[in-house]
């Protein structure tokens, strides 16, 4: 049996992308290998580490637990889609740099997606809420403390900017 390829059409970071994929191709492999959006990282490939998190129809999900064919007709935002129009880092990404919230950087795209989803719904998260929001993302370098600080810092900056 040679499985069929499937035509898909997916809005990724605001642009429509089309392709033909075998059913077994995961969404993260399609994003990285076909669209060359290598910001989304592949960690464990079985839904444990959170490095591959993307926004799917606006909700943070693991892109290693979805097949690309399932994204047909849907909307995906990757970490590349979090930066500004000019490609410069946004407030949240700046905050990660300012507080040294990354060392090796492998978990960072997933952390940014998780944090972005949190701040969109809850502009004033408590530390506990931040820890809950990134609870599904593993980091082996930082001990999480600076990541939590980065998200607190970004929240404060975003609120300040909104108030101005």
């Amino acid at each position: 049996m040679t499985p069929r390829g499937h035509r898909i059409s997916v809005e990724v970071n605001g642009h429509l992308h089309e392709g033909e994929v075998p059913a077994r191709l995961t969404l993260v492999d399609w994003l990285r290998d076909e669209l060359h959006l290598s910001g989304t990282h592949v960690g464990c490939e079985h839904g444990i580490c959170g490095a591959c998190s993307v926004l799917f129809d606006g909700e943070a999900v693991r892109s290693c637990l979805m097949f690309a064919v399932q994204a047909d007709g849907h909307r995906v935002t990757t970490v590349e889609g979090l930066s500004g129009e000019d490609g410069r880092p946004g407030e949240l990404q700046d905050a990660f740099c300012e507080t040294h919230a990354l060392q090796c950087g492998y978990c960072t795209p997933g952390m940014l997606i998780a944090a972005h989803a949190l701040l969109r719904e809850n502009p004033h998260p408590t530390e506990a809420e931040i820890r809950e929001a990134i609870g599904g993302n593993l980091c082996r370098c930082t001990g999480y403390q600076q990541i939590v600080e980065a998200i607190e810092h970004a929240a404060a900056k975003l609120v300040e900017r909104g108030a101005r």
């Binding site: 499985p3 490939e45 839904g47 999900v61 290693c64 097949f67 609870g135 599904g136």
Partner: protein, 298 residues
């Protein structure tokens, strides 16, 4: 860690999903949220020849209150159920349990029906379904049938569903007594991991703090989640003193047949079953009393 090759079909209606399951035969599997099936496929523990995708079937995603039950379509996202105001008010045990299910990113995709169909003996939603005696509606090309949650699970990852059947709806009873409390608790290696053991309880008290009815159960300590309706029945009419609850929890734990693995011995699981059943009953009782005293308004 890549899934073996398979064929894929996306269903746009319940009828189409049932027809596809029927046509594609025993090698076909439904995929809902895929938060358990996709990792199992990646690890080659599951090798379906066909995946029938029900994520885009609108008739499987709803939450409504009807006939003294809270009803959810099988493909309702766990996160939606966790945050639904009616669910929180009418069946609070659900959102209490859902906070223990994986992480936000997996609950955004994982579904209520998928968790039941997957039938992990330590999973939270199957336990809640058993404790509350939820009704599960099942569809196939042969028609519709309803079964009680307790009759769905037969063993680890094993249900009484036929290969061509699809869970359509889960309906949890609403307890309408004035003073109802519920609680869910579990022990896992890390928060969000599979529970070693989990326990859920719900109690209703009268105006004098006597038990009108109670229900409780334990997951992860036997081949399926186990509810204890006969033991819970003995609490009716009693004041729920700590000692009564402790005795009941002890008897429940003694009736279980826990397995053992790398993470926990059978002895430790039985110990957890007792402690957690006790804790969930105590907490459910205290919440019911607080409602009685008007401390919690919902």
């Amino acid at each position: 860690m890549k899934a073996a090759a398979f064929e894929y079909a996306r269903a746009s209606s319940i009828e189409e999903a049932c027809a596809l399951l029927r046509e594609r035969g025993d090698g076909a599997r439904l995929i809902a949220g895929g938060q358990s099936l996709a990792p199992m496929m990646a690890m080659r523990l599951a090798r379906p020849t066909w995946l029938v995708d029900i994520n885009d079937v609108p008739d499987l995603q709803y939450i409504r209150v009807e006939g003294e039950r809270l009803r959810a379509g099988a493909c309702t996202r766990q996160r939606a159920l966790e945050r639904d105001a009616r669910a929180i008010r009418l069946v609070p045990l659900l959102s209490q349990a859902l906070q223990w299910v994986g992480h936000i990113q997996t609950r955004n995709r994982g579904t209520a029906g998928g968790s039941l169909a997957h039938a992990d003996p330590s999973a939270e939603l199957p336990l809640v379904a058993c404790v509350l005696d939820a009704e599960v509606s099942v569809r196939s090309t042969r028609g519709r049938r309803a079964l009680r949650a307790g009759d769905l699970f037969t063993g680890p990852m094993t249900t009484t569903l036929a290969a061509d059947e699809l869970i359509e709806e889960i309906a949890w009873p609403i307890w309408r007594e004035d003073h109802v409390g519920s609680a869910f608790t579990e022990v896992s290696i890390r928060h969000g991991d599979f529970a070693l053991v989990a326990a859920a309880a719900q109690v209703a008290l009268d105006g004098e703090a006597r038990c009108l009815r109670a229900s409780f159960g334990v997951g992860g300590a036997d081949a399926t989640p186990v509810a204890f309706p006969e033991l819970a029945q003995t609490l009716a009419g009693a004041r729920l003193e700590d000692s009564i609850i402790s005795t009941i929890a002890e008897r429940a734990a003694a009736a279980l047949d826990p397995g053992e693995d790398l993470h926990a011995s059978a002895h430790y699981r039985r110990h957890l079953a007792k402690v957690l059943a006790e804790r969930s009953l105590l907490e459910a009782r205290d919440r019911a009393i607080a409602r009685r005293a008007g401390q919690i308004r919902q």
